[in-house]
């Protein structure tokens, strides 16, 4: 059935979306290559972020593609370490050792910036 609704009131919708986001469950997948320095650093860093900002509502999966490169193909991984935010949508992709904490937080919609008020950037 078609729902005839007026386009949402932007502010209210935004706030609702923000509130929803505040409770959303995150599913993250980190692709690493064995126990290299970068890989380990990436794990440590992302875990730190999760523990600090997503305490109790995250699921971090670590995938080692050095043993099974085929796993990389499904997600179109081109470099490791790579973090994929699977949930909540949209899909996001981060590459590196995850030491750019601010950028990652932003990318995970865990930082409020001016631009976010308007539309998902």
């Amino acid at each position: 059935m078609k729902k005839k609704t007026a386009p949402p009131n932007d502010l209210a919708a935004l706030e609702a979306a923000a509130a929803a986001r505040a409770n959303a469950r995150y599913v993250l997948r980190l692709y690493v290559t064995g126990t290299t320095r970068q890989s380990m650093r990436a794990i440590v860093n992302i875990r730190t972020i999760c523990e600090e900002h997503l305490q109790g509502r995250y699921q971090l999966e670590v995938v080692d593609i050095s043993q099974q490169p085929a796993l990389a193909k499904g997600e179109q991984i081109i470099a490791a370490p790579t973090l994929i935010k699977k949930l909540p949508l949209p899909l996001r992709r981060f590459i590196g050792d995850m030491s750019q904490t601010e950028r990652i937080l932003l990318g995970l919609d865990l930082r409020e910036t001016k631009s976010s008020h308007h539309s998902p950037a």
Partner: protein, 966 residues
């Protein structure tokens, strides 16, 4: 989602998408440039491949990673905020967590520290602060609650610029080691407390003799504190320092112990208060696991204690040895391998085997060859299975005899269960087996005996039910043995039951057996027929004496009873017949004698009548008379024979004096002999023979024989009567004549009645019955009669009779005789006077007279024979004899006494009513010492006695020459 999207929105969305992608690409490039990426994934024809960007670092990284993975201790790196940045494989194992799961987490999430004391934590912090590192032990409590003891090294990581780069923690789980240390400490404490509480003395020395430890007892006993001895040389300590010699001895002992020797000796030590106590002292070297001597252990026990223990041991051993010797079984031991070794005194004593014989398996040689192999097999089995051994076999005893024995052996185990040795026992069961076999044999024999006995046996319980019964009695009852058992007697033999019940009732009352009761009645064996049994019933008691039943012996006497009654009938008939015969005989006798009386009487009247008969009449009368007397003799003898034949003759067999009988016989026969001119010779009467015979009948027999000898003799012939002792106890009286003799054919017919062997036509008269009667009579007297004869020479008729002893006076009579005399006063000798007198009045008179003489004792004999016997037995000092005696006369008694050496010395005084001078002379001639006449004058009598006594005491008599016997 809205159904329509404005193109603007769409564009904006696509824009956003592109921007995002772009941002990503930029991000990627940036990451690569800033060396945050270590690998690229490139899709190749062969699939996606990974290209590492690490370069040289990659290899060293990998190696580092591998090294760290190999390390056994857990290695954890944390950053400044205690986040785990590194977590090696060992750490993963130790904490049970995956590296991926812990990286980035904070360390307290894995474990927390527990410090034994707050100071320990402070010390750790201080160390880290001051030195940047710390090493120590702590307790970690893990996330799952476990507590582990760990040994950790903590190192602060610094960057080249000096700033903290985090902390490296290397941890080793020492829980196991801690456990061991605890266990060790516990056992050490235990050992220590044991040592401390020992009453003995124990210490520890180093190899060079320095005392490092001693137990409390050693120090308390000496009354010294530990500080005075610990750390000093042992021999310098209080216990020893009282004597240099003792110290030197100890020093030497320590040296030897240090060389590996265990030294032991008795020595006095100094105790508190400077007293001495002897101890059993020893030093043992203590070795480590490699065998090196690390310490010396001195220890000591109060000698008194040791002596006590030794004493107890000796006591126990002694007890054991005595017990062993008291046991009649053979006890032995085997070693663990099942071989006999060492000393085995009981085995040796029994079998005679010495240790070299029985050693090992040598004992099997003492076992019977047939039993040896099975024994060994069974033994090996028992040893292998380590269980008790039981067997039965024959063993040779030292004397060579095979004895049947049971043998049992059991293993003796160490506390650990290992077998130390075997202990076994042999029991000689030969005797008991033998007696068991014997018993069985006897039992079966008894059973057989019982069942095959021709007499009935049975056993009833108290209720009179059959418990046991043998074949014979079952047959008598007519019911099979098995059918009796358990059944009541009233069911089996109802006809006899009442008597049985009464009888058993009596047994119960009196407790005594009832023997030889006659039962009569019917049994099922022969219904309708009354039978008889002799039954003896007796009570059967149990161990307590209670009657549990009745036993019986039953004998069938039906036949016997029948025989008895037949016999009784026959006896009655015979007696009747006998009585009839006797009556007949006596009436016959009477009938015959009566007319004969007339014949003889009137004939005699005629002969001696007023008018004498004429010679021819006299001749006729003589004939009548002779015939008549002959008929009388005949009748008498026939009747006599008849009486004898009918067995009615009454004989009284007494000791009869042959002398007596012969004298009577002689008196009767002499006139006949003289008339016929035949000389008769009778034996001399030196010895008295007594025979068992009837006096009257013996006389009759003798007269018959002698008369025959006289009648059937030759003119001027002789008859000799002789008495000989045929054998001890047998007297033969021979009557020898000088007649015509008898041929053997005639001898055979001798003892037949009415057979006069041709003498019927002879001059002599005879009945022909005499010898028959003689024979019968002699046989009735238990003797024999016979004849020896030679034709032309003569015949000897003999009879043999049993000799018997002289008649003894009854003891009562003797006692009476003895009683008559009073006891003489002491000191006065008493003389025995023998008075031979048959007249009781005379006897009484003399008794009275002698009663007045305390020096004399009177003995009376009623006739000559008794007198002679008394004279011999009692050896009187003096004999007084009546000349007129029954049987042999006083003179003859005198002669006999004088001839007998045992009585010849005794003076004999005659006492007689024959007072004629010729009588007196005759008596004196005969040999009497004195001749006293009746009636007696008392004083004369007494004087005569005195005289005779004096004579007896002073002189010895001359032997009187023998006179020829008449």
């Amino acid at each position: 989602m809205t159904s329509r999207t404005s193109p603007e929105a769409q564009l904006r969305a696509e824009n956003a998408e592109l921007r995002a992608r772009l941002a990503e690409a930029e991000d990627t490039l940036r990451a690569i440039r800033s060396n945050e990426v270590d690998a690229l994934v490139i899709d190749t024809a062969n699939g996606p491949q990974i290209f590492s960007l690490q370069g040289l670092d990659a290899e060293s990284n990998r190696m580092r990673g591998e090294l760290l993975a190999q390390v056994g201790d857990s290695v954890i790196a944390v950053d400044g905020e205690e986040r785990i940045t590194f977590f090696n494989a060992a750490a993963q194992r130790q904490y049970g967590l995956r590296s991926d799961d812990v990286l980035g987490r904070k360390l307290p999430g894995i474990y927390t520290h527990h410090w034994p004391a707050p100071e320990a934590e402070t010390a750790k912090c201080k160390a880290l602060r001051d030195h940047g590192e710390w090493h120590g032990e702590s307790v970690q409590r893990l996330h799952d609650g476990r507590e582990v003891h760990v040994e950790s090294s903590i190192t602060i990581l610094r960057r080249t610029d000096g700033a903290d780069a985090g902390t490296l923690i290397v941890t080793r789980d020492i829980s196991a080691r801690k456990q061991q240390e605890d266990t060790l400490r516990e056992s050490q404490q235990f050992a220590r407390s044991v040592l401390e509480n020992l009453p003995a003395f124990v210490g520890v020395m180093t190899v060079d003799g320095t005392l490092t430890d001693a137990n409390r007892a050693s120090m308390e006993a000496a009354g010294i504190p530990a500080s005075e001895v610990i750390g000093k040389k042992f021999w310098d300590c209080y216990w020893w320092s009282y004597s240099p010699e003792i110290q030197a001895q100890l020093r030497d002992a320590c040296k030897r112990a240090a060389g590996g020797e265990r030294v032991r000796y008795d020595v006095p030590v100094r105790m508190a208060g400077d007293t001495r106590t002897w101890i059993d002292f020893q030093i043992s070297p203590l070795r480590d696991t490699k065998g090196r001597i690390t310490h010396l252990i001195p220890s000591a026990m109060d000698l008194a204690l040791r002596h006590e223990a030794e004493g107890k041991l000796r006591e126990s051993e002694e007890r054991f040895r005595v017990a062993l010797s008291a046991v009649s079984d053979i006890i032995w031991t085997y070693n663990a391998a099942g071989e006999m070794d060492g000393e085995q005194p009981l085995w040796s004593a029994f079998t005679g085997q010495r240790p070299e014989d029985f050693r090992g398996f040598g004992w099997s040689k003492a076992v019977h060859p047939e039993d040896a192999q099975p024994t060994i097999e069974a033994w090996n089995l028992a040893v292998a299975e380590k269980r008790m051994f039981e067997f039965e076999h024959r063993v040779r005893r030292h004397d060579g005899e095979w004895r049947l024995c049971t043998v049992r052996a059991k293993p003796v185990r160490y506390p650990s269960g290992e077998i130390r040795e075997w202990v076994g026992v042999h029991t000689d069961i030969t005797a008991s087996r033998h007696s068991a076999t014997e018993l069985q044999r006897v039992n079966s024999l008894l059973d057989t005996l019982l069942h095959t006995a021709p007499i009935g046996f049975c056993f009833l319980d108290r209720d009179l039910r059959f418990v046991r019964i043998n074949e014979r009695l079952a047959q008598m009852n007519g019911v099979p043995v098995e059918a009796h058992l358990g059944r009541h007697a009233s069911e089996i033999v109802p006809a006899l039951f009442e008597s049985l019940r009464d009888l058993t009732g009596r047994i119960l009352t009196t407790g005594e057996a009832e023997l030889n009761h006659e039962f009569s009645g019917e049994t099922p064996a022969t219904p309708g027929v009354t039978r008889f049994w002799n039954e003896s019933w007796y009570p059967v008691r149990d161990g307590a004496g209670e009657v549990v039943g009745f036993g019986a012996v039953v004998e069938e006497i039906t036949e016997r009873k029948r025989a008895e009654s037949d016999l009784r009938v026959a006896k009655a008939r015979a007696e009747k017949a006998n009585r009839a015969k006797t009556d007949f005989l006596s009436s016959m006798s009477h009938e015959l004698r009566t007319p004969l009386n007339s014949i003889l009487g009137f004939a005699q009247l005629l002969e001696s009548g007023a008018s004498p008969p004429t010679p021819s009449q006299k001749r006729s009368i003589d004939q009548i008379l002779r015939a008549g007397w002959h008929l009388l003799d005949l009748i008498t003898e026939i009747l006599d024979l008849a009486v004898i034949e009918s067995g009615n003759v009454m004989l009284s067999l007494d000791p009869v004096s042959l002398t007596d009988v012969m004298l009577d016989c002689r008196a009767m026969i002499e006139p006949q002999a003289q008339q016929r001119g035949i000389g008769i010779q009778f034996p001399r009467f030196e010895t008295l023979h007594f025979v068992k015979a009837d006096r009257t009948r013996l006389k009759q027999v003798l007269v018959n024989l002698v008369f025959n000898a006289i009648k059937y003799n030759k003119p001027e012939g002789t008859v000799a009567v002789e008495v000989t002792l045929k054998s001890p106890g047998l007297v033969r009286i021979c009557v020898r004549d000088t007649g015509a003799g008898l041929a053997p054919a005639q001898q055979a017919q001798l003892f037949q009645p009415f057979n006069r062997l041709g003498q019927e036509r002879g001059a002599e008269e005879g009945t022909g019955i005499g010898l028959v009667v003689t024979k019968r009579l002699v046989e009735l007297m238990g003797g024999t009669v016979g004849v020896d004869s030679t034709v032309g020479v003569g015949s000897t008729f003999w009879i043999e009779l049993s000799q018997t002893a002289a008649p003894q006076f009854a003891a009562a009579d003797l006692a009476y005789i003895a009683q008559v005399q009073p006891q003489p006063p002491d000191g006065v000798p008493q003389h025995t006077l023998l008075y031979i007198e048959d007249n009781s009045a005379n006897q009484a008179l003399i008794e009275q007279l002698i009663a007045r003489r305390p020096d004399m004792r009177l003995l009376c004999a009623a006739d000559g024979e008794a007198g002679i016997a008394f004279a011999r037995d009692y050896q009187p000092a003096l004999i007084l004899m009546d000349i007129t005696l029954p049987g042999i006369s006083g003179v003859e008694v005198l002669q006999i006494l004088q001839k007998d050496p045992s009585t010849a010395h005794i003076p004999i005084v005659a006492l007689s009513a024959n007072a004629m001078p010729s009588d007196i002379a005759k008596g004196m001639d005969a040999g009497f010492l004195n001749y006293i006449t009746k009636p007696i004058k008392v004083d004369q009598f007494m004087d005569a006695l005195d005289q005779a006594l004096k004579f007896a005491q002073t002189s010895s008599r001359r032997a009187v020459p023998q006179k020829a016997s008449i």
